[in-house]
Subunit: 113 residues, 2 copies
Amino acid sequence: MADPSLASTPDPPYVAVIFSTQRTPGDAGYAAASDRMLELARVQPGFLGVESARGADGFGITVSYWRSEADALAWRAHAEHLPVQARGREAWYAGFELRVARVERTRSWRPSG
Amino acid sequence: MADPSLASTPDPPYVAVIFSTQRTPGDAGYAAASDRMLELARVQPGFLGVESARGADGFGITVSYWRSEADALAWRAHAEHLPVQARGREAWYAGFELRVARVERTRSWRPSG
Protein backbone atom coordinates (compact mmCIF):
# COMPACT_ATOMS: atom_id res chain seq x y z
CA MET A 1 0.00 0.00 0.00
CA ALA A 2 1.16 3.49 -0.76
CA ASP A 3 2.31 6.10 1.72
CA PRO A 4 3.55 4.03 4.63
CA SER A 5 4.27 6.77 7.13
CA LEU A 6 3.16 8.33 10.38
CA ALA A 7 -0.19 10.11 10.19
CA SER A 8 -0.51 13.54 11.77
CA THR A 9 -3.91 13.47 13.39
CA PRO A 10 -5.68 16.18 15.41
CA ASP A 11 -6.18 16.11 19.15
CA PRO A 12 -8.49 13.31 20.29
CA PRO A 13 -11.21 12.23 20.41
CA TYR A 14 -11.52 10.74 16.94
CA VAL A 15 -12.17 7.30 15.49
CA ALA A 16 -9.63 4.65 14.46
CA VAL A 17 -10.55 1.74 12.21
CA ILE A 18 -7.96 -0.98 12.77
CA PHE A 19 -8.00 -3.41 9.83
CA SER A 20 -5.68 -6.40 10.37
CA THR A 21 -5.38 -8.79 7.47
CA GLN A 22 -3.59 -11.89 6.31
CA ARG A 23 -3.07 -11.76 2.55
CA THR A 24 -3.37 -14.75 0.27
CA PRO A 25 -0.33 -15.34 -1.98
CA GLY A 26 -0.11 -13.43 -5.27
CA ASP A 27 -1.44 -10.05 -6.25
CA ALA A 28 -4.68 -10.77 -8.18
CA GLY A 29 -5.36 -7.06 -8.58
CA TYR A 30 -4.81 -6.25 -4.92
CA ALA A 31 -2.13 -3.57 -5.23
CA ALA A 32 -4.04 -1.49 -7.76
CA ALA A 33 -7.29 -1.75 -5.79
CA SER A 34 -5.50 -0.89 -2.57
CA ASP A 35 -3.94 2.22 -4.09
CA ARG A 36 -7.30 3.28 -5.53
CA MET A 37 -9.09 2.80 -2.19
CA LEU A 38 -6.46 4.88 -0.44
CA GLU A 39 -6.81 7.64 -3.02
CA LEU A 40 -10.59 7.55 -2.61
CA ALA A 41 -10.54 7.37 1.21
CA ARG A 42 -8.39 10.49 1.39
CA VAL A 43 -11.11 12.62 -0.16
CA GLN A 44 -14.00 11.31 1.97
CA PRO A 45 -15.65 13.61 4.50
CA GLY A 46 -14.07 13.25 7.92
CA PHE A 47 -10.94 11.45 6.75
CA LEU A 48 -8.05 12.35 9.08
CA GLY A 49 -5.23 10.05 7.99
CA VAL A 50 -4.09 6.48 7.42
CA GLU A 51 -1.15 4.31 8.43
CA SER A 52 -0.33 0.96 6.89
CA ALA A 53 2.34 -1.72 7.20
CA ARG A 54 2.65 -5.22 5.79
CA GLY A 55 5.45 -7.69 6.36
CA ALA A 56 6.97 -10.14 3.90
CA ASP A 57 4.80 -12.86 5.49
CA GLY A 58 1.67 -11.17 4.17
CA PHE A 59 0.36 -10.02 7.55
CA GLY A 60 -0.63 -6.36 7.52
CA ILE A 61 -2.30 -3.68 9.58
CA THR A 62 -3.99 -0.60 8.14
CA VAL A 63 -5.38 1.99 10.53
CA SER A 64 -7.57 4.74 9.12
CA TYR A 65 -8.53 7.72 11.23
CA TRP A 66 -11.90 9.49 11.02
CA ARG A 67 -13.57 12.47 12.62
CA SER A 68 -16.56 10.37 13.64
CA GLU A 69 -17.94 6.85 13.46
CA ALA A 70 -20.57 8.13 11.01
CA ASP A 71 -17.76 9.19 8.66
CA ALA A 72 -16.13 5.75 8.94
CA LEU A 73 -19.46 4.04 8.26
CA ALA A 74 -20.09 6.25 5.24
CA TRP A 75 -16.74 5.18 3.78
CA ARG A 76 -17.62 1.54 4.43
CA ALA A 77 -20.86 2.02 2.45
CA HIS A 78 -19.25 3.97 -0.43
CA ALA A 79 -20.46 2.67 -3.81
CA GLU A 80 -16.95 2.07 -5.12
CA HIS A 81 -15.72 0.58 -1.83
CA LEU A 82 -18.39 -2.13 -1.46
CA PRO A 83 -17.37 -4.33 -4.44
CA VAL A 84 -13.75 -4.06 -3.35
CA GLN A 85 -14.70 -5.35 0.10
CA ALA A 86 -16.40 -8.33 -1.55
CA ARG A 87 -13.33 -8.96 -3.69
CA GLY A 88 -11.22 -8.89 -0.53
CA ARG A 89 -13.21 -11.75 0.95
CA GLU A 90 -13.23 -13.70 -2.32
CA ALA A 91 -9.61 -13.36 -3.30
CA TRP A 92 -7.19 -11.27 -1.28
CA TYR A 93 -7.62 -12.17 2.37
CA ALA A 94 -7.09 -15.41 4.25
CA GLY A 95 -8.73 -13.71 7.24
CA PHE A 96 -9.19 -10.32 8.86
CA GLU A 97 -10.11 -8.56 12.04
CA LEU A 98 -11.72 -5.13 11.88
CA ARG A 99 -11.98 -3.05 15.03
CA VAL A 100 -13.59 0.36 15.38
CA ALA A 101 -12.18 2.30 18.29
CA ARG A 102 -12.42 5.74 19.84
CA VAL A 103 -8.98 7.33 20.26
CA GLU A 104 -8.83 9.00 23.67
CA ARG A 105 -5.18 9.72 24.34
CA THR A 106 -2.16 10.20 22.08
CA ARG A 107 1.55 10.78 22.24
CA SER A 108 3.82 11.85 19.37
CA TRP A 109 7.56 11.62 19.37
CA ARG A 110 10.16 12.82 16.90
CA PRO A 111 13.91 13.05 17.52
CA SER A 112 15.06 16.41 18.82
CA GLY A 113 18.15 18.23 17.58
CA MET B 1 8.71 -8.89 15.76
CA ALA B 2 7.53 -12.38 16.54
CA ASP B 3 4.05 -13.82 15.99
CA PRO B 4 2.64 -11.65 13.23
CA SER B 5 -0.92 -12.94 13.13
CA LEU B 6 -4.50 -12.05 13.84
CA ALA B 7 -5.31 -11.68 17.53
CA SER B 8 -8.46 -13.32 18.86
CA THR B 9 -9.83 -10.77 21.27
CA PRO B 10 -12.99 -10.92 23.40
CA ASP B 11 -16.15 -8.95 22.73
CA PRO B 12 -15.69 -5.20 23.13
CA PRO B 13 -15.26 -2.95 24.94
CA TYR B 14 -11.53 -3.23 25.54
CA VAL B 15 -8.50 -1.02 24.98
CA ALA B 16 -6.19 -0.88 21.94
CA VAL B 17 -2.76 0.74 22.08
CA ILE B 18 -1.78 1.61 18.50
CA PHE B 19 1.99 2.09 18.31
CA SER B 20 3.13 3.30 14.87
CA THR B 21 6.85 3.60 14.39
CA GLN B 22 9.47 4.42 11.81
CA ARG B 23 12.61 2.38 12.50
CA THR B 24 16.12 3.72 12.08
CA PRO B 25 18.40 1.56 9.86
CA GLY B 26 20.20 -1.38 11.45
CA ASP B 27 19.24 -3.61 14.37
CA ALA B 28 21.22 -2.21 17.35
CA GLY B 29 19.61 -4.74 19.70
CA TYR B 30 16.07 -4.00 18.54
CA ALA B 31 14.97 -7.50 17.52
CA ALA B 32 16.01 -9.12 20.80
CA ALA B 33 14.43 -6.36 22.89
CA SER B 34 11.25 -6.50 20.83
CA ASP B 35 10.94 -10.26 21.31
CA ARG B 36 11.55 -9.91 25.04
CA MET B 37 8.95 -7.16 25.40
CA LEU B 38 6.40 -9.28 23.57
CA GLU B 39 7.15 -12.24 25.83
CA LEU B 40 6.79 -10.01 28.89
CA ALA B 41 3.65 -8.22 27.70
CA ARG B 42 1.88 -11.54 27.19
CA VAL B 43 2.04 -12.34 30.90
CA GLN B 44 0.89 -8.94 32.16
CA PRO B 45 -2.50 -8.62 33.86
CA GLY B 46 -5.21 -7.68 31.38
CA PHE B 47 -3.22 -8.52 28.25
CA LEU B 48 -5.65 -9.68 25.53
CA GLY B 49 -3.46 -9.97 22.43
CA VAL B 50 -1.10 -8.22 20.04
CA GLU B 51 -0.79 -7.73 16.28
CA SER B 52 2.30 -6.41 14.55
CA ALA B 53 3.46 -5.72 11.00
CA ARG B 54 6.51 -3.96 9.58
CA GLY B 55 7.35 -3.38 5.94
CA ALA B 56 10.74 -3.46 4.27
CA ASP B 57 10.76 0.36 4.45
CA GLY B 58 10.97 0.20 8.26
CA PHE B 59 7.50 1.53 8.93
CA GLY B 60 5.59 -0.63 11.40
CA ILE B 61 2.40 -0.80 13.41
CA THR B 62 2.00 -2.80 16.62
CA VAL B 63 -1.41 -2.90 18.26
CA SER B 64 -1.68 -4.38 21.75
CA TYR B 65 -5.05 -5.11 23.29
CA TRP B 66 -5.84 -4.73 26.99
CA ARG B 67 -8.78 -5.32 29.28
CA SER B 68 -8.59 -1.75 30.60
CA GLU B 69 -6.60 1.45 30.27
CA ALA B 70 -5.22 0.81 33.77
CA ASP B 71 -3.75 -2.47 32.51
CA ALA B 72 -2.16 -0.71 29.53
CA LEU B 73 -0.72 1.98 31.80
CA ALA B 74 0.68 -0.62 34.19
CA TRP B 75 2.52 -2.24 31.28
CA ARG B 76 3.86 1.15 30.22
CA ALA B 77 5.25 1.63 33.76
CA HIS B 78 6.70 -1.90 34.06
CA ALA B 79 10.25 -1.80 35.48
CA GLU B 80 11.73 -3.79 32.60
CA HIS B 81 9.73 -1.90 29.96
CA LEU B 82 10.80 1.64 30.93
CA PRO B 83 14.50 1.40 29.94
CA VAL B 84 13.48 -0.22 26.66
CA GLN B 85 11.20 2.74 25.92
CA ALA B 86 14.16 5.07 26.53
CA ARG B 87 16.33 2.97 24.25
CA GLY B 88 13.65 3.20 21.57
CA ARG B 89 13.84 6.99 21.59
CA GLU B 90 17.66 6.96 21.68
CA ALA B 91 18.36 4.40 19.01
CA TRP B 92 15.57 2.51 17.31
CA TYR B 93 12.95 4.99 16.24
CA ALA B 94 13.03 7.90 13.83
CA GLY B 95 9.59 8.85 15.14
CA PHE B 96 6.44 7.33 16.55
CA GLU B 97 2.76 7.93 17.21
CA LEU B 98 1.10 6.21 20.14
CA ARG B 99 -2.68 6.21 20.38
CA VAL B 100 -4.78 4.74 23.17
CA ALA B 101 -8.26 3.87 22.00
CA ARG B 102 -11.39 2.17 23.27
CA VAL B 103 -12.54 -0.60 20.93
CA GLU B 104 -16.30 -0.40 20.57
CA ARG B 105 -17.23 -2.55 17.58
CA THR B 106 -15.49 -5.48 15.87
CA ARG B 107 -15.89 -7.77 12.92
CA SER B 108 -13.99 -11.00 12.28
CA TRP B 109 -13.83 -12.80 8.99
CA ARG B 110 -12.33 -16.12 8.02
CA PRO B 111 -12.91 -18.00 4.72
CA SER B 112 -15.76 -20.49 4.89
CA GLY B 113 -15.60 -24.02 3.45
